[in-house]
């Protein structure tokens, strides 16, 4: 290099054989991000993800609001999975402020988190279907999401941005006869899920297309620090709900889904199978939940944390979400760092797409369970 460029800038070398494609941000297969893909014929020679189109500085905003005011805006990165992204924040703040959570609230939180996980995975599955050109798989999950959205609406009053979990419990108690309704809908949903298997996962064309494409080996999955379904599809048995159980997950009956193949097909199948486990957890939690009791520990207004720091994580639909909260005797946190699964899985993208065919790009990209808005925060 002859000229000294400032860091953050770089020179592009132009090659006639290589074509540069800007996949996104205005592309039906990109989401709110851009992939700068270089193709040689039909093969991708390099991929440079360029997120940040919806970066809102949630971490910076959190430094200006107190612990309670932070709740509504911290769920905004993934409004489809809002309970799960609030969960570690609540756990962390409870640890900082030394708050005990009532037993019933713990169960309600778990139910809300699992319902939300299903909502997220169905949305993800719908887009995965349309990315592969399977329009029926777009319509079915998008329609079945309504089941869970209705349930969460009954619980929290909002359809999408619930802000249901708060430090010290949940915002309000369950409505009456919620248990029967939830049980009925979850059982119906389990029947529907089996139909997905027939039309989508056992489809020979889908298998031929995704099996063996974008293989991430176990070693690489660990080395790249992936998380969530990407990690479990590569044969690593790691789920925060099992390894570091929070709230009442250790009392509940479920198992971790692990597949060894590490290809696009396994990555697309793991979240689907996890929905069965979510249904099991919901049914089990409904059974074991205390039928009455307080659901929220009252906080004093404007609570302050000590000179302390805390790192708490939960398992979300896209992998582990970790909150690193530093407090300094003030009602506002000194620093909040959100480490999200999408951002951690982003590193796979240049890695997996290199050498793939262009036709595999949507399958690999969306199979990473990547949510651009969450990665930007």
């Amino acid at each position: 290099m002859t000229t000294q460029l400032p860091p953050g800038m770089h020179l592009e070398t132009v090659d006639d054989k290589i074509m540069t494609l800007n996949v996104g941000p205005q592309h039906p297969g990109s989401g709110h991000m851009r992939l700068i893909i270089k193709v040689d014929g039909d093969y991708i020679v390099s991929c440079d993800p360029d997120p940040g189109y919806v970066h809102r500085g949630e971490e910076k905003m959190a430094e200006y609001r107190n612990y309670i005011q932070n709740i509504p805006h911290l769920e905004r990165p993934v409004i489809h999975d809002s309970s799960n992204i609030l969960y570690p924040y609540c756990l962390g703040v409870e640890e900082l402020l030394g708050i005990e959570v009532p037993e019933r609230a713990k169960y309600i939180r778990v139910i809300a988190a699992e319902l939300n996980r299903c909502i997220y995975i169905l949305y993800w599955l719908a887009i995965y279907g349309i990315f592969l050109g399977h329009s029926t798989m777009f319509m079915w999950p998008a329609g079945d999401r309504e089941l869970f959205i209705d349930l969460l609406e009954a619980m929290s009053g909002a359809r999408v941005t619930h802000a249901y979990l708060v430090p010290g419990g949940v915002r309000n108690d369950l409505p009456s006869n919620f248990e029967e309704r939830c049980l009925r809908q979850v059982e119906y949903f389990e029947k529907r899920l089996k139909e997905y298997e027939a039309i989508f996962y056992q489809n020979p064309l889908l298998k031929a297309r995704t099996e063996g494409s974008g293989i991430l080996s176990r070693t690489d999955a660990i080395r790249l620090g992936t998380t969530g379904s990407v990690l479990r599809a590569s044969g690593v048995d790691f789920d925060v709900r099992k390894k570091e159980p929070y709230d009442v997950y250790e009392n509940l009956d479920f198992q971790t889904i692990v597949m060894k193949e590490g290809d696009s097909y396994a990555r697309s199948r793991i979240p689907y199978l996890e929905m069965f486990e979510s249904c099991r957890i919901i049914k089990d939690a409904l059974k074991k939940m205390p039928k009455s009791g307080s659901v929220r520990t009252k906080l004093k207004p404007n609570p302050k944390g000590g000179n302390d720091e805390v790192y708490r994580r939960v398992e979300s639909g896209r992998g582990a979400i970790g909150y690193y909260i530093v407090s300094n005797n003030r009602p506002e946190p000194y620093r909040v760092k959100i480490s999200v699964g999408s951002f951690r899985n982003l590193i796979c993208m240049p890695y997996l797409l290199k050498g793939e065919k262009l036709g595999n790009m949507p399958a690999v990209y969306w199979g990473l369970n990547y949510w651009p808005v969450e990665a930007d925060r």
């Binding site: 349309i130 329009s135 319509m139 329609g143 262009l358 036709g359 949507p362």
Partner: protein
Amino acid sequence: MSTIAPQFRLSRFIGSLFDLIFWVILIFSLVGLPIVFIVLFYIKLPVINGQLMTPYLAMTWMADPSRTLPIVKNFMHTTIFRVMAFPGFGFAALLAAATIFVERKFLAKMQLRVGPLYCGKIEGILQLMGDGFKLMSKEIIIPAKADKPIFWMGPLLFVGAAGAFVSLIPVAPGWVVANPNVGLLAVFAVIGFFPIIAVLTAWAANSKWTFIGGLRALHQMVAFEIPLILSLLGVVILSGSLNLSQIVESQEHFWWIAFLPIGAIVFFITILAELERVPFDLPEAESEIVAGWLTEFSGMMYGLIQLGTYLKLYAFAGLFTVLFLGGWNGPMVWPPFPQDIITQGITIGPVTAKFPGLPLFDQEMLNGTLWFVIKTVGVILLILLPRGVFPRVRIDMILHTGWYKLIGLAFINIFIALGLLYAGVLGPGGLLH
């Protein structure tokens, strides 16, 4: 004072009347009269009641059906009618439009949705018309660095080629626009134009997505043209003709699909690929390459491409019917025309009306059309079905399928046909003839 309803003045009113009369006369003499003379020159007008029918007697047609019907009947046997209306463009476009609507409703039912619902009160029947008006009223945007002549020509050429394809399909005995002796070869020649149009428009739009899409379309169509041609050779061998009408006539007793199922399957798969339909819609794969070679089209240019696509769909389905499903052959289910009307006329109270031109269509033609439409619609539904079931395949998979598997199957099909021919079972002078 208002400009909406200015004060009435008689002189202005009379002036406007004269103005109107002037324009009517001017337009009639400049446009109407030449049309009349062209009609007189080209169309042989009938003699009715010992009097030559001239366009000047046009007013009397409307009053007297006995005069109208022979004119209509005469018109129906002109080439213009065939090209524009019945076996040609109008009929095909109507079926194509019905296909679009049926596809949307059919897919919606498969996916547990409703589909078009509001436009037209009854199940959204007018949705298509609304979409058409929307497309017509939209602005046509041409990319700044596009190669404009080719870009403009693309949709027109596409519709033209599709129309040429449609014109080769025989619908009923004697009802076909063009009936060349080598009809099937003409079909191959027309199909060969589609990849050129795709790749030229893709290049002309000067965008990476269209270019990739165009190259994909080219790869796919070229790869599937060969099994398409090979899979139809079996039919040619057995029927001993390249003329599509003669091929239909050769299936009077049994359809070729009974003997050549492999050829029919290969042909069906190649139809899906040539039409760029799911699961072979790679040239328009929206999650990979935006909309493929259609990315830069807007407004009615896109509408024309869509029209051409569905005309092509109809033509391919019709070709499948003609070659494998016996075309217009079928049991006579259409009721015969009531002879009373011809001999005695219709009596309503005191008035008896006679219609000397009836019947307009003969029974055979209507029956043939009915069977042809039924079979073609069945094939069209089969072509639509995979869209709700299959995901898109990858380019290497599609090429592998085209070049390895389908060509092999097509050759097996040819050997079956040859075997049947040489065993003396079928073919000219065979056992079953």
